[in-house]
C-alpha cells in the first residue's frame, strides 16, 4: 500500500508472532527454548537470527519470527512445557505490521499516539494506543517505526495515517 507524503507506509508481509506468558522462575528455561534473551525491562527487545522478543509486561513477551520458523519455535516450547509451565499463543493472524519510514515519522505518529514518540529509544518497543486502537509500536531506526495493528483495525489505522501523511505533505509545501 502506498501513500502520498513525506513518510513511506509499507504493509509488511505476514510474519509469525506469539504471545508468551511465563512466571519469573521459569524465564531462564523459556529463554533457552526460544534461543534468544527474554528482556526483563518493559519495552526492551532482544533478537537472535530470525527470532526476536519484546517485553510488554512483567510476565508477558511478544515473540517474532519468520513463518518458516514458527513450527520449530512451537515445538521448542512444547518440549519444556512440563518443566516450565507457560502459555504460548499463536497470534500471527491477529496482527499486521506497517513499516513507517521517513524524517517526519515522529510527527505522523504523534497525530494519533498520545505517547512522546521521540522518547522511545532505538530498538525499543511499547504497547500503546493509536486513535483508541491498541497497537504495538517498535522503533527499528531513527526514522523507522513498525506499527503492529489488529487486522480488523488495519483499514482504519491505514486511512488515518494516509490522511495525516497527506497533511504533512501539504504543510511542507
Amino acid at each position: 500500500m502506498t501513500s502520498e507524503g513525506p513518510v513511506r507506509l509499507t504493509l509488511l508481509p505476514e510474519a509469525a508472532r506469539f504471545s508468551l506468558r511465563v512466571r519469573q522462575s521459569d524465564i531462564a528455561a523459556a529463554a533457552r527454548a526460544f534461543g534468544a534473551a527474554l528482556p526483563a525491562r518493559i519495552g526492551q527487545t532482544a533478537s537472535a537470527g530470525p527470532r526476536s522478543s519484546l517485553c510488554l509486561g512483567p510476565d508477558e513477551w511478544v515473540l517474532h519470527t519468520s513463518t518458516d520458523d514458527a513450527e520449530a519455535l512451537q515445538q521448542a516450547f512444547a518440549a519444556i512445557a512440563g518443566a516450565a509451565p507457560h502459555s504460548l499463543t499463536d497470534i500471527s493472524d491477529r496482527d499486521r505490521s506497517i513499516l513507517l519510514s521517513g524524517p517526519l515519522v515522529e510527527d505522523l505518529l504523534s497525530t494519533g499516539c498520545p505517547r512522546d514518540v521521540s522518547s522511545i529509544p532505538l530498538g525499543a518497543g511499547v504497547r500503546t494506543v493509536f486513535d483508541t486502537v491498541q497497537v504495538v509500536l517498535i522503533r527499528d531506526g531513527v526514522t523507522d517505526f513498525r506499527l503492529e495493528v489488529a487486522r480488523s483495525y488495519l483499514p482504519h489505522v491505514m486511512a488515518l495515517l494516509a490522511m495525516a501523511n497527506l497533511e504533512l505533505a501539504v504543510a511542507a509545501g
Binding site: 509486561g57 505517547r115 511499547v126
Partner: protein, 105 residues
C-alpha cells in the same frame, strides 16, 4: 490530560493508556458464608467517595496490562503516588510532606 506513573513500566504515561478500576484496598471476605446481608451490601456497594485524597486502583490496560494502586486528590486530580498492587497503603502524612516539598521547589 493526566500523566500517570506506571510502577511496572517505571514511566509516566498519558491517561489514555489507563483505565480507572474503583477504590483500592477493599479486602474480599475471608469467610463469605458467614457474611450477613448488611456486610455483603457494605463489601459490594459502600465506598468512601472521598473528597480529597483517595486510594484507588488503575489498570495500565493499553500498556503492560497490570493493575496498580494510586493516591489521587479527587478535588485537584493530582496524583500523590502510585505503587504496585499488593504493597501496603503508603503513609499519607509522609506523602503530603513530600508533595509539599515538591510544590515549594
Amino acid at each position: 490530560m493526566l500523566l500517570i506513573h506506571c510502577p511496572y513500566c517505571a514511566a509516566t504515561l498519558p491517561e489514555l493508556e489507563f483505565a480507572y478500576a474503583g477504590e483500592a484496598h477493599i479486602a474480599r471476605p475471608a469467610d463469605p458464608s458467614t457474611f450477613s446481608d448488611e456486610q455483603w451490601r457494605d463489601f459490594l456497594f459502600i465506598r468512601t467517595n472521598a473528597r480529597g485524597l483517595h486510594f484507588e486502583r488503575w489498570r495500565h490496560v493499553h500498556g503492560c496490562g497490570r493493575f496498580f494502586n494510586a493516591v489521587r486528590d479527587t478535588v485537584s486530580d493530582k496524583f500523590l503516588t502510585t505503587y504496585k498492587a499488593g504493597e501496603p497503603k503508603p503513609e499519607l502524612e509522609a506523602l503530603l510532606k513530600a508533595a509539599g516539598k515538591d510544590a515549594a521547589e
